[in-house]
C-alpha cells in the first residue's frame, strides 16, 4: 500500500499577544490509502488545528511554522495558493463541526452543492462573472442541477428536486450535516477530514451520519480523517487512531489494540474516564489536574504533571521520543524506553537513585 498522507514534524503555532501557542508541535504520522484515521483528544489539544493545517486553512495569527505535509508524495506546505485552491474541495475536503453555520444562509442547498461541483468540474469557475455566465448558460445549469439531485438522493434526501431549492434553515440539523457531507464528497476527494461531524447532533442522527459516511466512503474510495473527542465514534469508522495531548501525539495505534491494551498512561487514563457497558459499580476515574497552559507548557513530556507513571527527573526534563514498540504501534513515553537507552540519552545516570 502506498502512503496517502505523511506528516513530518509538522508545527502549527498561534502567535497571540500573550505568547506563542504551539497548537500542533512536531507531529508526525502516516496514513495509508483506503485507511481511516481517527484523531482523538481533549478540547484544545490541537486536533482541529491539525485538520485545518492539512488544508492550509489555519487563520492568522496561526501559521504552519515547520515540517512537511506529504499528500500523495507532494509537499502541501510548499504549494502555491493557486495550486492549494485546486486541491481544496477536489482532492481534500473538510466537514466542520456545526452544519448550521457552515452553510451560507442566503443560498439554497442545491446552489451550494452545485457550487462545489462547478468550482472544480468546469474550467474557469471562480469569479462572479463566471458564475453569472454559468447561470445564463441553461444547459450547464441544468446539468449541475441534475448532479445535485443525484447527490441529494444518494445521501437519502427524498423529493430531491424540491428539497434542492430549500434554504439551509428549512433543513433539520441532521439533513444539513448530510448536505455538508454531500458537498464535501461531490468531487470524490482522496481524503475527507471530518472535524467533529456529529458533535451537535443527537445520538440517533449521529448513527445515521456515521453510516452514511461509511457507505459513501466505500463507494467513493475516500479515506477519512475523523477528528473527535469521542472514542466510540472513532472506533465505529476508523481502523487507526492517534491520541493527541497538548499539541503532541501520545500514541498511534490501531483501534483494537488501543481499547484492549492502551500503552500510553494518558490513553489508559482516558479509557478509564469513559463509562462502559458491563462495568457496573465501577467508579469512573477522572484524570487529576488540568489541561496545561499552552503558552507555558510543562517542561519535558507535557502530560507528566498528571501522569501516574511519571519518573521524576526524566519525564520533566526532555520531551520523550516516539518509539515503535510493536509493529504499527507508536508511543511517546519514557515508560517503554529501557535503562540502557535512557543512559545513552544521558538521562539515566544522573537520576540513578530515583529510577532504581
Amino acid at each position: 500500500m502506498s502512503k496517502l498522507l505523511e506528516l513530518r514534524d509538522l508545527k502549527t503555532h498561534y502567535f497571540t499577544r500573550e505568547g506563542v501557542v504551539k497548537a500542533v508541535d512536531r507531529v508526525s504520522l502516516d496514513m495509508e490509502k483506503g485507511e481511516n484515521l481517527g484523531i482523538a483528544g481533549e478540547s484544545g489539544c490541537g486536533k482541529s488545528t491539525l485538520g485545518l493545517s492539512i488544508l492550509r486553512l489555519v487563520r492568522t495569527p496561526g501559521r504552519i511554522v515547520g515540517g512537511e505535509i506529504l499528500f500523495n508524495g507532494e509537499d502541501i506546505v510548499q504549494k502555491s495558493d493557486e495550486e492549494m485552491r485546486r486541491i481544496r474541495g477536489a482532492r481534500i475536503s473538510i466537514i466542520f463541526q456545526d452544519p448550521t453555520s457552515s452553510l451560507n444562509p442566503v443560498y439554497t442547498i442545491g446552489d451550494q452543492i452545485g457550487e462545489s461541483i462547478s468550482l472544480h468540474q468546469y474550467r474557469g469557475g471562480g469569479g462572479v462573472f463566471d458564475w453569472l455566465l454559468g447561470r445564463f448558460k441553461r444547459s450547464r445549469a441544468r446539468e449541475v442541477d441534475e448532479k445535485v439531485e443525484d447527490i441529494l438522493r444518494e445521501i437519502g434526501i427524498s423529493d430531491a428536486s424540491k428539497r434542492r431549492r430549500n434554504y439551509p434553515h428549512e433543513f433539520s440539523g441532521g439533513m444539513r450535516q448530510r448536505a455538508m457531507i454531500a458537498m464535501a464528497l461531490s468531487c470524490r476527494p482522496d481524503l475527507l477530514i471530518a472535524d467533529e461531524p456529529t458533535t451537535n447532533l443527537d445520538v440517533t442522527i449521529e448513527a445515521q451520519i456515521l453510516d452514511l459516511m461509511k457507505e459513501l466512503q466505500k463507494e467513493f474510495d475516500t479515506s477519512v480523517i475523523l477528528i473527535s473527542h469521542n472514542l466510540g465514534i472513532i472506533s465505529e469508522l476508523c481502523e487507526k487512531i492517534v491520541i493527541m495531548y497538548a499539541g503532541n501525539i501520545m500514541e498511534f495505534s490501531d483501534i483494537k489494540t488501543l481499547f484492549e491494551s492502551p500503552k500510553h498512561p494518558y490513553t489508559e487514563a482516558l479509557l478509564n474516564a469513559i463509562p462502559r457497558l458491563g462495568s457496573r459499580g465501577k467508579r469512573l476515574v477522572a484524570i487529576p489536574g488540568e489541561v496545561p497552559n499552552q503558552i507555558n507548557p510543562p517542561h519535558g513530556c507535557k502530560f507528566h504533571p498528571r501522569c501516574k507513571d511519571r519518573i521524576d527527573g526524566i519525564c520533566n526534563r526532555r520531551s520523550p521520543p516516539t518509539i515503535e514498540i510493536e509493529p504499527g504501534i507508536k508511543v511517546s513515553c519514557y515508560k517503554y524506553i529501557s535503562k540502557y537507552e535512557l543512559s545513552d540519552m544521558g538521562l539515566y545516570n544522573e537520576q540513578k537513585r530515583i529510577v532504581d
Partner: protein, 292 residues
C-alpha cells in the same frame, strides 16, 4: 419564477434570492412611522419617474412673475415667472439623481476600502482605515465648499462627484466591520475549504450577507447628500441650470417676505423627503438591530 420546459422545475432567479434575503422587510408593517415613510417615498418615486405627465406646464415656460398661489398656478410663480409647482415636481427627479449618484459613488469606494480592509486585515487594513480616518477628520461642509469652488464650471455632476468622494468613510467603516464579522463564519471557511477564490468569497459569499446594514446606511446617506446639495446651492455654489430644490429655495430668498411661496414649497418637499428617508432608515435599523 419561470418554468423550464423539460423538467417543469422552477428556477430561482437572482432577484428572488435578493428578496428572500430581505424578507425581514415584512416586519416594517408593524412600524407605523416607517410604513408612512414608505408611502411618501413611493409618491416621490412616481413623481421622479413621470413628472411630464403630472405637471401642468413645462418648467421653463414663463408667466407673469411673482403670482401668488391660485387655481392656475398651485404654488404660484417665481421671480422669473416660472410655475413653481412644475419646477418642484421636476426637482424630484434631480434630487433622486443627486442622491442615487452620490450613494453609488459611496458604495463603490466604500466596498473597495472597507471590503479589502476587512477581508485582508493586517497592514492593508491599517493603511485604508487611516485614510478613512483622515477623510472623517475633515470639516465636511468647509471642504465641500472649497472643493466645489475650485471648479470654474458650476455643474451638478461635479458637485455629485465631490460629495461622493467626501461622503464614503462611514460606508467603508460599516462594510469593513461587516466583512470582519462575516469572514470568520464557518460558511466562509467552508467556501475556502471548497477551493473558492478570494474574489468569489468576497462577492458571492460575503456580500449578500451584509446587504441589510448597507441598505439602512443608504437611506440615511441619501438624505444627507440631498441636504448637502441644497446647502451648497444656498451658499451660491449650486448649478443654476439644474432644477434642484436648493436652487429654487435660493432664488426666492430675497423676496421671502413678499412672496414666501417661491422658497417655501420646494423647502417643504425637501423636508418631507428627508423625514421620510430618516424614518425609513430608523425603522429598518430597528428591524435589523444595526448600530450605524
Amino acid at each position: 419564477m419561470e418554468l423550464t420546459k423539460e423538467t417543469g422545475v422552477k428556477q430561482t432567479t437572482i432577484l428572488e434570492r435578493l428578496f428572500s434575503s430581505l424578507s425581514g422587510l415584512g416586519k416594517l408593517k408593524r412600524n407605523k412611522a416607517s410604513l408612512v415613510s414608505v408611502g411618501i417615498l413611493l409618491v416621490f418615486i412616481i413623481l421622479a419617474l413621470f413628472p411630464n405627465i403630472i405637471v401642468p406646464y413645462h418648467p421653463e415656460t414663463m408667466f407673469m412673475v411673482r403670482q401668488s398661489p391660485s387655481s392656475k398656478h398651485w404654488f404660484g410663480t417665481d421671480t422669473l415667472g416660472r410655475d413653481v409647482f412644475s419646477n418642484v415636481i421636476w426637482g424630484v427627479r434631480t434630487t433622486f439623481y443627486i442622491g442615487t449618484a452620490c450613494v453609488l459613488i459611496e458604495l463603490v469606494i466604500g466596498f473597495l476600502m472597507g471590503g479589502l480592509a476587512g477581508y485582508f486585515g493586517g497592514w492593508i487594513d491599517d493603511l485604508l482605515m487611516r485614510i478613512t480616518d483622515i477623510i472623517l477628520a475633515l470639516p465636511t461642509l468647509i471642504v465641500l465648499i472649497l472643493a466645489v469652488s475650485m471648479f470654474k464650471v458650476r455643474s451638478i455632476n461635479i458637485i455629485i462627484l465631490v460629495m461622493g468622494l467626501i461622503g464614503w468613510p462611514y460606508m467603508a467603516r460599516v462594510i469593513r466591520s461587516q466583512f470582519l464579522s462575516i469572514k470568520t463564519t464557518p460558511y466562509v471557511d467552508a467556501a475556502r475549504a471548497m477551493g473558492a477564490k478570494t474574489q468569489r468569497i468576497m462577492f458571492r459569499h460575503i456580500m449578500p450577507n451584509i446587504i441589510l446594514p448597507i441598505v439602512v446606511l443608504i437611506t440615511i446617506h441619501f438624505a444627507g447628500y440631498v441636504l448637502w446639495e441644497a446647502s451648497l446651492t444656498f451658499l451660491g455654489l449650486g448649478d443654476p441650470n439644474s432644477m434642484s430644490w436648493g436652487v429654487m429655495i435660493m432664488s426666492g430668498k430675497n423676496v421671502l417676505r413678499t412672496c414666501p411661496w417661491i422658497s417655501t414649497y420646494p423647502g417643504l418637499f425637501l423636508f418631507f423627503l428627508l423625514i421620510a428617508l430618516q424614518l425609513l432608515g430608523d425603522g429598518l435599523r430597528d428591524i435589523f438591530d444595526i448600530r450605524v
